[in-house]
Chain length 449, copies 2
């Protein structure tokens, strides 16, 4: 078995729950439970409704919208993945959003027979293939215009689905190669409905590729690494490794690059500064009016991503260092309650935002190439004293700084409160945290009915 596509197909076709290393299921459970909450959060967003409106009726394959819409498996994946990313509150790994693509694809195809263990295994299969491909590139797909979640997502989802459907190695290879012919997504469409739709498509394309391969559609056995294949085509400057044999099953990406849970509903580039502010809560309590200025030390690229310095809407506020810091000072954290147009326009918020200065750093963290090595804030008061927050390298919720169960439960609660009653929320969260004991996908949906 040589060649990347064949190696990935071999791994995907043979991976079983018993093969998963210690820690892998914990990481997968974190991603999956968190993703379930953001799917529920996004159910009523306009882009979700629009996409759901086109789903074929009469197809009796899978539930979308957590038990509210019966449709075809590929559309169930599309609708749920679009919902999961509609508010940009889903988890991240590297440059991508893995769970919002993988889980909807797995749920859509897993309904007839998959157990919790099957879901976990398929998730890890997809996760490993996705991160293995992404790690082979030296440059930034973003910088060329490609949306990494769109371009890797279809293949990751196809890998997960191939494992779930029990495809043999030959058909798994076809699924991977077919999905590579569906990889798409542009940075230019960020900030519009088309961004979450790109995630939805990745999930849908993965489902379709696995289904077509199962039915006998043929494809190249080397479309990932071929000189005119996926890695070469999407590589910004041809600095991509197409030849090294992957270490599937020997080293595990989900352990070294596990999914990072977003605990604040703003761009991930603003999370570390929020943590630095939160650590200063005692110093700022009751003294907010006495704050003269706030200096945010952040990376240059982060600063570009956080483009809005005086946001006027909640959508702009998601991409604003000033808003992140101001809200964190005023509220002790940043949650969905603050991501509201009225809140963004409050006088207290606007006055505090105006006192924020950015100090940019061009050094880059070796593990997080969009970020500087660490972020911190300095708050100067009217009396001239300065309080410095800690330098934060890994945001709270990052795989290297994981949040405990109570904090994850609190986010789950926040995201699902508009859809589920309190007892149901608690039950569903507990069930997801013990996914290995779940007997079927339907059981998950029934619990939330």
């Amino acid at each position: 078995m040589t060649g990347l596509t064949k190696s990935a197909a071999h791994f995907v076709a043979n991976l079983q729950y018993e093969d998963l290393p210690t820690g892998a299921t914990d990481a997968a459970v974190r991603g999956i439970a968190d993703c379930a909450s953001v799917i529920l959060l996004g159910l009523d967003e306009p882009v979700t409704s629009l996409v759901a409106g086109n789903a074929p009726r009469g197809a009796d394959e899978a539930w979308a919208l957590w038990g509210k819409l019966r449709t075809s498996a590929d559309y169930a994946a599309l609708v749920n993945a679009t919902a999961a990313h509609a508010l940009d509150y889903d988890d991240t790994a590297g440059d991508s959003h893995p769970s919002a693509v993988l889980l909807p694809a797995i749920l859509a195809l897993g309904e007839p027979a998959a157990t919790g263990k099957d879901i976990l295994t398929a998730y890890v299969a997809g996760y490993e293939v996705w991160c293995e491909l992404a790690s082979r590139e030296q440059d930034k797909h973003h910088a060329k215009g490609f949306h990494p979640t769109g371009i890797f997502g279809a293949i990751g989802a196809a890998a997960a689905c191939a494992n779930l459907l029990g495809l043999d190695e030959e058909k798994a290879a076809a699924a991977l190669s077919i999905s590579a012919s569906m990889s798409a997504g542009l940075v230019a469409n960020f900030g519009s409905m088309t961004k979450p739709y790109q995630l939805g498509r990745a999930a849908q394309n993965g489902v379709l590729a696995a289904q077509l391969a199962a039915q006998g559609m043929t494809a190249a056995i080397d479309a990932l690494e071929h000189p005119l294949g996926f890695l070469a085509a999407y590589s910004p400057a041809a600095r991509v490794d197409r030849t090294t044999e992957p270490a599937f099953g020997r080293s595990w990406r989900i352990l070294s690059e596990g999914p990072n849970i977003k605990l604040y509903p703003v761009c991930y580039a603003a999370h570390r500064m929020i943590d630095s502010v939160v650590a200063l809560a005692d110093a700022t309590a009751g003294r907010i009016d006495a704050i003269r200025s706030i200096r945010v030390h952040l990376g240059h690229t982060q600063s570009q991503i956080l483009r809005y310095r005086a946001p006027g809407t909640s959508l702009e506020a998601k991409f604003s260092a000033e808003f992140a810091v101001a809200a964190a000072i005023l509220e002790g954290s940043v949650g969905l309650r603050e991501l509201d147009d009225d809140y963004v326009k409050r006088v207290a918020v606007r006055e505090l935002m105006a006192r924020v200065e950015r100090v940019e750093c061009t050094e880059i963290d070796p593990q997080q190439s969009l970020f500087s090595p660490a972020d911190h804030v300095e708050i100067e008061f009217a009396d001239g004293t300065v309080q410095s927050g800690p330098a934060v390298r890994f945001a709270f919720g990052h795989a290297s700084n994981p949040a405990g169960q109570p904090r994850l439960a609190a986010k789950f609660d926040e995201c699902t409160a508009s859809q589920l009653g309190e007892a149901t929320r608690r039950d569903l969260f507990s069930m997801l945290c013990n996914l290995q004991d779940v007997r079927s996908v339907s059981e998950l949906y029934k619990r939330a009915a």
Copy 2:
């Protein structure tokens, strides 16, 4: 109105039949009539059946398979476009296959109300946007691994559909930008079912993008030319023109780069040598056994594309200079009858193929960058005499060397004979040749029922 996306949207939203210049409808009719025949030809191909098997039933939007399968509009486009390219006998322009993508998308959305004039207008709208985008790149998408029909096709189809649906400029721009987020297709999958599927997807994606834009999905207003948009992302070496204002409606691509009709069911790179052989028919008649050797003068890149020197199957024979020349000498032409495994294995064919030598030329035709300036053959007989065929720059059927009505009718007959009776074939061809007088898409389908 500035910016490529906006300019294209303006053109697409406003183009009417009366605006089409002299000659445009003739070119469009050639492409459309030819495409109808290759859709019918591909109806029973395995990849078509596979894709048709997944089309949603119960959706009452459009016919696929020329009146045999009722399904959703996007799947009708997918199925018909896959059929149209299944045998690689559909027309070409530049590096792409325009009609096989555009016509299925237009037919799928045009069923309720489109007239023949509407079909022609939408076709030209899609054709112009497609070729305008393709012309802005200096390098070869093929060489980076991207399948140009897959990556431009979705946008061309979206442009055609936006015109057909009567979208306003804002929604037409959204349709173009959404479709740009769906552009995909890899050269690595050539030679498998995934190649025609990539065309099918382009047509389907164009339909979906126009439908979503019509329903209010938002997208960037500049996703084509944005520095992180379509042209930049897919450009092999960033030698792409994102800024020059296009001349939509002033210069017409369909006149300067009209669709080239394939008159032989083999790779387009082999067409010119077939013409050179055919012109020598009198010289070779009755003297085939006396042929000592055949020298084919062709371009270096063409020679690489025509990779099989001793093909063993009809699929390999499609990409063989030796087969093209041998069959043309033996039969006076190359048609579907010759593209048969048994024919390829005949002793007479194999013996003649063995006498073919290639003489490669590295010079490139300024108008056809995959080809040399011209191809010709030299046939040497046992008595030492040599007959040289003419140097052919534009294959018979090329827009610069168009075939007359009788030859086009003969191809139509050849492609549709397995599906339609003789009278029906004649009627349908005549109707397509007078498309401007057709009152509805249904009328076309009824004629073939």
